[in-house]
């Protein structure tokens, strides 16, 4: 059942969580904290945002706003996966665990694999898949944390570089519309400029401006 695509997706996921573990170590969080963030947050971007904002001195409220803005994208994923999972008699509380597991990788895999699974077994299948991915990522988090603590500086740097690389490329791959591409490019370009202001909410300012400009350009192009 594991085709090449899913192997590569899990490899990228593994690399991402190696990076998260290393990032947590180098921003002085404990290993237990890093593992707990993987279990409870279970969304790579939100974890990176949480660790890097808190690590650079943001307040709890500033970090929470950045996390929640990044997490809105989970909402359409949940809305599109759940109809695939539920049967006519399924109660909401039976779906809570599956809902928690939904993040980009599980979403892609569910859309790909669930149609081949009999409807009555889909909740169990999605829970198993989610739990499997979570276990892999917990190992990666601990490994990244341990490697950052023990490896020579050069390899520590290589593991930390995994985070921006893997996220840039997976975000670029998930771009579906012009607005997504522009938001990515403008977001990269605007942050260095806005960071000169040292507002404490640099990421929010640059992201809301970049995202809004990207959205406006797409609407303008569509209207033409």
């Amino acid at each position: 059942m594991w085709s090449v695509t899913s192997t590569i997706l899990s490899l990228v996921l593994f690399a991402t969580y190696l990076g998260i573990g290393a990032l947590a170590h180098d921003t002085h969080f404990s290993l237990g904290w890093a593992l707990a963030s993987t279990v409870f947050v279970w969304a790579g971007p939100a974890q990176i945002i949480l660790i890097s904002t808190l690590g650079s001195g943001a307040t709890v409220v500033q970090a929470a706003i950045a996390v929640t803005l990044s997490a809105i994208r989970l909402f359409p994923m949940v809305v599109s996966v759940l109809p695939l999972v539920r049967s006519p008699g399924t109660k909401r509380r039976q779906l809570i665990l599956v809902t928690h597991f939904i993040a980009v990788t599980l979403w892609v895999e569910c859309v790909r694999l669930l149609p081949q699974v009999p409807r009555g077994r889909r909740i169990a299948f999605a829970q198993g898949l989610g739990f499997g991915l979570l276990s892999v990522c917990l190992v990666a988090t601990a490994l990244g944390y341990g490697l950052a603590a023990n490896l020579p500086e050069l390899f520590g740097a290589a593991i930390l570089l995994l985070t921006p690389l893997a996220f840039l490329l997976s975000t670029a791959r998930n771009c579906r519309q012009l607005a997504d591409v522009l938001a990515l490019a403008l977001g990269l370009a605007l942050f260095p400029v806005v960071s000169l202001l040292h507002t404490g909410v640099d990421i929010l300012i640059s992201a809301v401006s970049a995202g809004s400009i990207a959205y406006a350009v797409q609407r303008w192009r569509a209207a033409q």
């Binding site: 590569i8 990228v12 690399a15 990032l23 921003t27 969080f29 404990s30 237990g32 707990a36 409870f40 971007p45 974890q47 949480l50 890097s52 808190l54 690590g55 709890v60 970090a63 706003i65 996390v67 990044s70 994208r73 989970l74 909402f75 359409p76 759940l82 779906l95 939904i102 950052a148 050069l154 520590g156 740097a157 593991i159 930390l160 570089l161 995994l162 921006p164 690389l165 996220f167 840039l168 490329l169 670029a172 791959r173 771009c175 607005a179 997504d180 938001a183 990515l184 977001g187 990269l188 942050f191 960071s195 640099d202 990421i203 992201a207 401006s209 970049a210 995202g211 990207a214 959205y215």
Partner: protein, 114 residues
């Protein structure tokens, strides 16, 4: 054990700034269920802002790198990511090839600098 967990205050921060603001969108999706148009204008804007947040965080890590990454000079960090991205484009969007090329370039550059 206390070293493993760290202080309880930081776990509370994880709950308030990480778990709750993230999980709330999953649970809203569960409660509202169907009837939401994925192509709606508001969601297009939200996705653009979310993408730009991620872009900002990527830029922040490269610009103000944490820990060991700070030992790599700025130009080499940017070059490694640019080469990784170029490899990703050339291989028709292979994330794996892009990541490997970027990493190898950084390691080679660091070795070359000495």
């Amino acid at each position: 054990m206390s070293e493993f967990i760290g202080d309880w205050h930081s776990l509370l921060v994880l709950l308030l700034a990480g778990f709750m603001p993230n999980e709330v969108w999953r649970m809203i999706g569960l409660w509202l269920g169907g009837g939401v148009d994925e192509g709606s204008e508001l969601l297009v804007w939200v996705r653009a802002v979310a993408t730009a947040i991620l872009a900002g965080v990527i830029a922040q890590i490269l610009l103000e790198p944490p820990g060991a990454l700070a030992s790599v000079p700025g130009w080499l960090r940017y070059l490694a990511v640019a080469i990784g991205f170029a490899a990703f484009v050339v291989t028709r969007r292979s994330i794996l090839v892009g990541v490997i090329c970027g990493e190898l370039l950084m390691l080679a550059g660091k070795w070359w600098i000495g």
